[in-house]
C-alpha cells in the first residue's frame, strides 16, 4: 500500500519517455494486480467478469500491459510476494477489515443508485486472492513472461534484482521500493496513461525516481529515508500521528529520530523494521527466461474459459510478436 513520501519526493521525479525504457523491468506483481483490479471496472464499480462470475480485470490488465511493454522493448518480470513478515500482520488485518467495509458500502451505494460512490467503494474492496494470483501466473506463463517468487516482500526482491543489475529498473506505484534500495523506480507505466484520482480522470506520464538523486538531494542516507518512512508510517507500522514526510525529514536532519521514536511510538520495534527494509530476505538463485508465447494456450484460457473477445486477444497477440517471427539473442546467451 506504500508509504506517504510523496511530499519529499516530488522534486526528484523526472518525466521519462517510453522510448528510453527498454530493457528488463522488475514488476511488483501485487502492486500491478491491485492496480488492475481497482481500475479495470465498469462505471458502477463492477469488475470485468466472465459468464461464471469470475473476475477477469487482472487478466485483461496483464495481457494489454504486457503487450504494450513488449512493443516498447520492455521485458517484464513479475515478482510475487512470499509470506509477509510477522510484523505486517496488523496492517494485513486492518486492510482486510477496510476491504470488507468497502464491500458493504459498495452494495449500499448500488442499492441507493449512487454510481460514483459505488465505483469508489468497489475499488477500495479490491482483493488479491488465490484465484487472482494463480490465474495471473497461468496467463503470464502462457505469455512466456517469467514469474519470480520472493521469499518475503516482492518489492524487496524486485529491488534486489535492480541492485544486482539483473533488471534495469523497478515498476511500482509505491515508494517503498526506494526504501528497499531500488536504484531506479519507474511509475505510471499504464497503457492508457489515464488514471482516476479522487473521481477525476487525469493523464499520467511515466516518471522515474533515482534513489541516488533523492539521497543526494535531501542530504540523507537510505537508512535515514527509512527512518523518515517509519515516522510517517509504513506497511509495518502506523507511524506518528501528525507527522508527515516533510516534518519527518526535518526530524531526521536534526538527528532527533531516536528521541521522537521513543517518545511517540514506544511500542514500535523500529529497529526490526529498519533491518527489514535495509536487509530484506531475497533470493539470488532465480532464472530469467522469456519464452515464445503460446498463442493457442492464451486464446483457450482467455477466450474459451474467460469469455474475452477473440478479436481483441488476437490483435494483442500480434503485438507480442507471435506473428512476426523475430527471434531475440536470448537463445544464444
Amino acid at each position: 500500500m506504500g508509504v506517504a513520501l510523496r511530499d519529499i519526493l516530488n522534486d526528484y521525479k523526472t518525466a521519462v519517455g517510453w522510448d528510453s525504457l527498454g530493457g528488463i523491468a522488475a514488476l511488483d506483481a501485487h502492486n500491478a494486480l491491485y492496480q488492475f483490479l481497482s481500475i479495470i471496472r465498469q462505471p458502477d464499480g463492477t469488475p470485468l467478469m466472465d459468464r461464471e462470475g469470475r473476475v477477469t480485470s487482472h487478466l485483461s490488465g496483464i495481457l494489454f500491459r504486457t503487450v504494450n511493454f513488449i512493443e516498447k522493448g520492455i521485458k517484464p518480470v513479475y515478482v510475487f510476494d512470499g509470506p509477509p513478515p510477522a510484523f505486517k500482520q496488523e496492517t494485513i488485518e486492518h486492510r482486510r477489515s477496510q476491504r470488507k467495509e468497502a464491500g458493504e458500502r459498495w452494495q449500499e451505494a448500488l442499492e441507493r443508485g449512487d454510481t460514483e460512490e459505488a465505483y469508489k467503494q468497489a475499488r477500495a474492496s479490491s482483493r488479491i486472492d488465490d484465484y487472482v494470483i494463480e490465474s495471473s501466473r497461468t496467463l503470464l506463463g502462457l505469455m512466456g513472461i517469467p514469474c519470480i517468487d520472493a521469499p518475503s516482500e516482492g518489492e524487496a526482491q524486485a529491488a534486489h534484482m535492480v541492485i544486482t543489475g539483473d533488471a534495469r529498473y523497478m515498476v511500482s506505484q509505491d515508494y517503498d521500493t526506494l526504501l528497499f534500495g531500488a536504484p531506479l523506480l519507474v511509475r505510471n507505466l499504464t497503457v492508457s496513461g489515464r488514471r482516476k484520482i479522487h473521481g477525476r480522470t487525469v493523464t499520467l506520464n511515466p516518471e522515474k525516481i533515482i534513489l541516488e538523486e533523492v539521497t543526494r538531494g535531501l542530504k540523507i542516507s537510505r537508512e535515514d529515508l527509512v527512518k523518515v518512512a517509519i515516522l510517517v508510517g509504513t506497511d509495518f507500522n502506523s507511524g506518528v500521528k501528525g507527522i508527515g514526510a516533510k516534518t519527518a525529514l526535518k526530524i531526521i536532519q536534526k538527528q532527533e529520530f531516536e528521541s521522537i521514536a521513543m517518545e511517540k511510538m514506544p511500542d514500535t520495534d523500529y529497529q526490526s523494521i529498519m533491518d527489514f527494509f535495509l536487509n530484506p530476505p531475497v533470493h539470488s538463485d532465480y532464472s530469467l527466461k522469456w519464452d515464445t508465447p503460446d498463442q493457442d494456450g492464451i486464446l483457450e484460457m482467455l477466450c474459451e474459459t474467460h469469455d474475452f473477445s477473440e478479436e481483441r486477444v488476437k490483435k494483442a497477440l500480434e503485438g507480442l510478436g507471435v506473428t512476426t517471427g523475430q527471434k531475440t539473442l536470448d537463445a544464444w546467451f
Binding site: 527498454g22 529498473y169 536504484p183 527471434k327 544464444w332
Partner: protein, 248 residues
C-alpha cells in the same frame, strides 16, 4: 582527470553512428588503452561490441571508469560538427558532466548514471561456420535494394557453387543478389542460411557502408555477425543480429 582526450570529429561521429544504430544509451568503459562498449538493443535482437583504441585519438589519457552516455542526445549535439576538426573531451574525477569543445563551442553534457543503464550483456556463445568478407558498400547496397521489396532478407552461402547470396521476398516482388568468388573472399564456405529483419540491417548497413571490408559470419537459422574496422583500423565494431523464423 578521469578522461582527457582530443579526437578527430569525423572519427567520433563515425563511432557514435555505429553505436546509435542500435541503442539510445550505453555504458562506455574507458581505461588507459581506449574506450569500449557492449550493448543490446531494447528488443534484445541485436548487439554491438565496440572498441576504439587510444591510437584513434590525437591524444588520450584515461583512468579505468564507466560512463553513462545518452547516445541519442550526443548524436544530436554532434550533428552540427564539421569534419576534420579536432574536438577535445574532458571529464574530471567523480564528474557527472562531460566537457566537449570544438569549433569554439564549449559543451557541458550531463552523463547518465551508469546504474540506470542495462548492464553489459555477456558475450554469447555461438558457432557460425560460414564466413565471407565483402565490401561494406556492396553489402549496404544489397540491403537497400532488398528493403524496396520486403522487410526481411535471407543471407546464405551455397557451398556447392561457392556463392554468397541475399534473397528478399516481398508480397509480389523478389530480389536475389549472388556474390561469386571474384566479389567475395570466402574464409569458410560452409552451408548457411538465415533470415533477418531489414529494419535492423538498414541502420547497420549505413554504418557498414563506410567500411572497406566487412567480415560476415553466418549459420543455419542462427544470428549473423558483422565485424569491421573504422578509424583507419583503430576502431572495431561487431554487430550481432538475431534471425527471424523462416515461415514455411
Amino acid at each position: 582527470m578521469m578522461l582527457k582526450a582530443t579526437i578527430d570529429a569525423d572519427i567520433l561521429k563515425e563511432s557514435i553512428d555505429a553505436i546509435s544504430a542500435l541503442v539510445t544509451e550505453c555504458r562506455l568503459h574507458t581505461d588507459e588503452t581506449g574506450i569500449s562498449t557492449r550493448a543490446v538493443d531494447t528488443a534484445n535482437v541485436a548487439m554491438i561490441s565496440f572498441h576504439l583504441k587510444k591510437e584513434a585519438f590525437e591524444s588520450f589519457s584515461s583512468t579505468k571508469s564507466e560512463l553513462g552516455l545518452d547516445i541519442a542526445k550526443i548524436k544530436n549535439i554532434f550533428g552540427m560538427m564539421g569534419k576534420e576538426n579536432l574536438l577535445a573531451l574532458e571529464l574530471p574525477d567523480e564528474g557527472h558532466k562531460l566537457k566537449v569543445s570544438f569549433e569554439g563551442y564549449q559543451y557541458s553534457i550531463t552523463l547518465l548514471d551508469p546504474n540506470t543503464i542495462r548492464k553489459d550483456p555477456n558475450i554469447p556463445n555461438i558457432n557460425l561456420p560460414g564466413k565471407v568478407v565483402l565490401s561494406g558498400s556492396e553489402l549496404n547496397n544489397a540491403i537497400k535494394a532488398a528493403a524496396v521489396v520486403s522487410d526481411k532478407i535471407a543471407l546464405g552461402i551455397d557451398p556447392a557453387t561457392q556463392t554468397f547470396y541475399m534473397v528478399a521476398e516481398g508480397d509480389t516482388d523478389h530480389i536475389r543478389r549472388e556474390f561469386g568468388k571474384t566479389e567475395v573472399n570466402f574464409i569458410n564456405g560452409a552451408e548457411a542460411r538465415s533470415l533477418f529483419s531489414l529494419d535492423y540491417l538498414k541502420d547497420m548497413g549505413k554504418v557498414m557502408s563506410r567500411a572497406e571490408e566487412v567480415e560476415l559470419s553466418l549459420g543455419i537459422d542462427h544470428p549473423a555477425n558483422f565485424s569491421f574496422y573504422l578509424a583507419g583500423g583503430n576502431g572495431h565494431v561487431e554487430y550481432l543480429l538475431a534471425p527471424r523464423i523462416e515461415a514455411d
